[in-house]
Symmetry: C2
Subunit: 308 residues, 2 copies
């Protein structure tokens, strides 16, 4: 059975660690968010793609959940000399990935092609697709003005109240080759436990993706990133609330109701099952907190089991 | 008095360390060779420019004579994963310089502008000019085929017999802004103790530079990079011999005779003074081996003193 996963960053990467224990990588396609991509120091950085690659390669820094284990920051230190702000922390080995991606893009490769080469270099066998080869930039409107996602997320540590989120370039962004097919032809489509607004949101906003999810013959299952009204990591709960969404599993169901068959909610949220099902989405209850390898595998099994 | 220096890499940088002890940096213009410039890993590397900058900033790796002191190589190690050859050793902090230069060039800056910003970031007050903002590539014809300078010099450790040297792009290379003026308006022009073929050669081949040297009112003095028939460092002696030049101080005088007033030769080569003067260039004898700070200063004083 082919499984296609709509993925953001850390939460998605952790979910995928479980999924590849139960589905061969060759049967897995990951469609990755690129709205967080940004240029730093002249290098193109694709944080969500790299988090998935590094995690599945076993190379991720476990303390951060992003970046490479055992990093040093000598290039970043040296960049300060040139007047750069260095709040976006790029390690020396990580810099090599961005230099490689940047060179390929400058030589005319698409982001899909660059991503495939990076994933292969890290030994991955799954197919990792950016949602689009066209540039999308997630912009966050706050009282402090319009911020890029990384300014909001990293530089200002999600401290600003979010008034609106928009995806610059989205009107002209075509799905990358393979994206719509991977949704149409999958046995199961999984929406990973990622931020519905800024991680999954850009994917759904690319022309044709949401329609493909609505019309695919595949079962579509999501794992709620909200547990007990809070996110495990990141600002999804506060962001949903600011934007008038319900910051609970029921709010996630509502956001995806037009294409979602099943939402996996945490045992802690068992009481929310009726609210989820009121949106027309079936609720499945599982342990969704992924502390170790066994929990990750169990969650993947629960998600796939919920639609089989 | 304004001093303009025609410069290659390590030998020139060491000479400049002495010069700036006797002439304020604000009065010094360095015209730098760019024929060795190459792209590695998608980054533009300007070895001679950087060697001058790092040396004068006191940041050079003293063991190598190039690169930054205390370097680590984590990015380079990580680049191997992407299939790159990594014989050109770029440290992590050095990589920051190249990333900065590459970004500026890609954003439309000239190499002159990028070089000025890099020199300023390292706290230099002298004016450092690439000989041209147009791309020049030194190509070395050998029995093993045509090699770029870095392939010849670094990858193959100068082991190939050199049949010919040419400068790709030289016909279309205009002198960078300020280059011809710096030669015309100087009080003294110094040709640094650099390889006459591949370090000074590209400078002389850029349209207008050699004529400017011939016609300037400034005294033009060179320091011979050949002592006792050998170079201190690098392949200049073998290269000159292969190309039919005399690999001695007299051969250096001959190569520069059309514009040179004085050649500073080493005490060891005192007996070559008549052969030098037979080319029409006056010989001045000095201690040219620059072991420490005092010797560097003394050599700069000797070079300037020889034309005053």
């Amino acid at each position: 059975m082919d499984v296609t996963v709509l993925a953001g960053g850390v939460g998605a990467a952790r979910f995928l660690e479980g999924l590849v224990q139960v589905v061969p990588q060759e049967r897995v396609t990951v469609i990755s968010n690129t709205g967080d991509d940004e240029d730093f120091f002249g290098l193109r950085v694709s944080p969500d793609i790299d988090t998935v690659v590094y995690t599945l390669a076993g190379a991720i820094d476990p303390a951060h959940g992003w970046g490479l284990a055992g990093e040093t920051y000598h290039a970043l230190d040296a960049l300060r000399r040139f007047g750069y702000e260095t709040w976006f922390s790029l390690g020396d080995a990580d810099m090599a990935t961005h230099a490689f991606r940047t060179r390929l893009l400058r030589e005319g490769a698409t982001l899909s092609e660059a991503t495939a080469r990076i994933a292969a270099a890290f030994g991955l066998a799954l197919r990792l697709l950016p949602v689009s080869d066209d540039r999308i930039r997630t912009l966050v409107e706050t009282d402090a003005g319009t911020l890029t996602f990384q300014q909001y997320f990293v530089k200002r540590r999600t401290e600003d109240e979010v008034r609106a989120v928009r995806f610059e370039g989205i009107e002209d962004a075509a799905p990358a080759p393979g994206v719509l097919d991977a949704i149409a032809a999958a046995g199961v489509v999984v929406v990973a436990p990622s931020n519905p607004v800024v991680s999954i949101g850009p994917l759904l906003a690319v022309g044709g993706v949401r329609d493909a999810l609505r019309t695919t013959a595949a079962a579509v299952v999501a794992v709620s990133p909200i547990v007990g009204g809070r996110t495990i990591k990141g600002p999804a709960d506060r962001m949903m609330a600011s934007l008038g969404m319900t910051p609970t599993a029921a709010g996630v169901a509502e956001a995806y109701a037009d294409f979602l068959d099943v939402l996996v909610i945490d045992e802690e949220d068992r009481a929310l099952a009726p609210a989820v099902e009121a949106t027309g989405v079936r609720a499945a209850v599982a342990q969704t907190i992924m502390r170790g390898t066994a929990e990750k595998r169990a969650l993947a099994e629960a998600a796939l089991g919920a639609v089989q």
